[in-house]
């Protein structure tokens, strides 16, 4: 079987539309992951040992179980408890929750890298707890970890095909559909692979430049 370029060109617009869904799902999921990840990182610093242990194991649980099964859980099990979301919303929520576990570790590392003296100085200046966090600690904790955050953004992008399992019309699902309609799997699947490669390589190029920028500072 020979790769049919005309057919490939013909299905490209449809795949590009699906790529848009994929990118949207990635960005929305990442926004959730950022917020939740920061929440886990801050909650883990709670003074109550039991509470911070609980958060630790919760995050550990999310991180060491497969995203696909989490997606299934949210899609099939949560409706049993009356929480019913659309496939896309479910997928975005699952992606966000899963990656929040990774991001919380990144944020934790960033926060712990801020020198103790910064805390002491903030206290000496009579800053409130809230002000210390928002004006002193986080502005120093987050910029150094942005390249790592970027790498997780790419990793998340590469995990979006899992949403095909719950019928979200992202790249892989649309390739499968084209395959089922035309009995040609070679072109759609190859194109999907190439699109992923293109976006990932471009984004990691940008991240490498970000990394260099932070290293020189």
């Amino acid at each position: 079987m020979i790769f049919d370029w005309r057919f490939a060109l013909q299905i490209l617009p449809e795949l590009m539309r699906a790529l848009l869904v994929t990118v949207q799902a990635t960005l929305a999921g990442f926004a959730i992951a950022l917020v939740l990840g920061m929440a886990w990182a801050l909650l883990r610093r709670s003074k109550s040992v039991t509470f911070s242990r609980t958060v630790f194991w919760f995050v550990e649980f999310i991180r060491s179980t497969p995203l696909l099964v989490q997606v299934y859980f949210m899609f099939f099990a949560l409706p049993e408890y009356g929480l019913k979301l659309s496939p896309l919303a479910t997928g975005v929520a699952a992606l966000g929750l899963h990656y929040s576990a990774y991001l919380s570790e990144v944020f934790r590392a960033g926060i712990e890298a801020v020198p103790r003296g910064q805390w002491e100085a903030a206290r000496a200046l009579n800053m409130s707890r809230y002000r210390t966090w928002t004006r002193v600690i986080l502005p120093q904790a987050i910029p150094p970890v942005t390249p790592v955050l970027g790498n997780y953004l790419i990793a998340m992008f590469k995990d979006t095909p899992m949403l095909a399992a719950i019928t979200v019309m992202e790249l892989l699902q649309s390739a499968k559909l084209i395959g089922a309609q035309t009995f040609r799997y070679m072109e759609p699947l190859t194109l999907v692979g190439l699109l992923f490669l293109l976006v990932s390589l471009m984004s990691s190029f940008i991240i490498r430049r970000l990394e260099n920028k932070f290293n020189t500072v």
Partner: protein, 220 residues
Amino acid sequence: MSSTLSLLPPLLAGLAVTLKITAGAAIVALVLSFAAGLARLSPRMWISFSALVYIDIFRGTSALVQLFWAYFALPLFGVRLDAMTVGILVLGLNIGAYGAEVTRGAIQSIPKGQWEAATALNFTASQAMRRIIMPQALVAMLPPFGNLLIELLKSTALVSLITLSELTFQGQVLRSATMRSAEILALTLILYFITAQLLVLFVRIAERRLTHNLDQGGIQ
């Protein structure tokens, strides 16, 4: 409660398949990590470039897309593999690409003085690599390899989508038979979690063994 327990046997049967795929793919990935990691450091351009192409292709695309491509598109080239072989090979290739970067980084992190000292002691290049560099680099490799092993275990869930009846697949079969989604999926997640924790423990023991042997060597 007893009815929940009755769900366990089929899930455990799936877990056995999951472990088999994890073990098979881990071996493939380990071999590739060293092969491609060392190839990246080769002074011969074409060797290091081919390793780079392999690493970038497998790290740059989605594991699920790779599985689908190997299972649905590759047969059209006349290469027909069964689902188990595809699962083990593709996941091994995928994790191996990440592992190659770990291997390369660990070897590069060994100070240049170690090479120079080995040369001064009249070691050949391969002796220096085997006796001096590798034992130190292995210590640096183990923690990231442990993380990759967990990533591998998690990514075996994907092969359920190419019809392999591992843990996730068994869970889905049970689910459509009994419609007790919450119970079954929670149980599936817990089984993955326990397996992952056991693997973490296993890696930690290996780490202790490996660093223990190096204690007398004067490294940290």
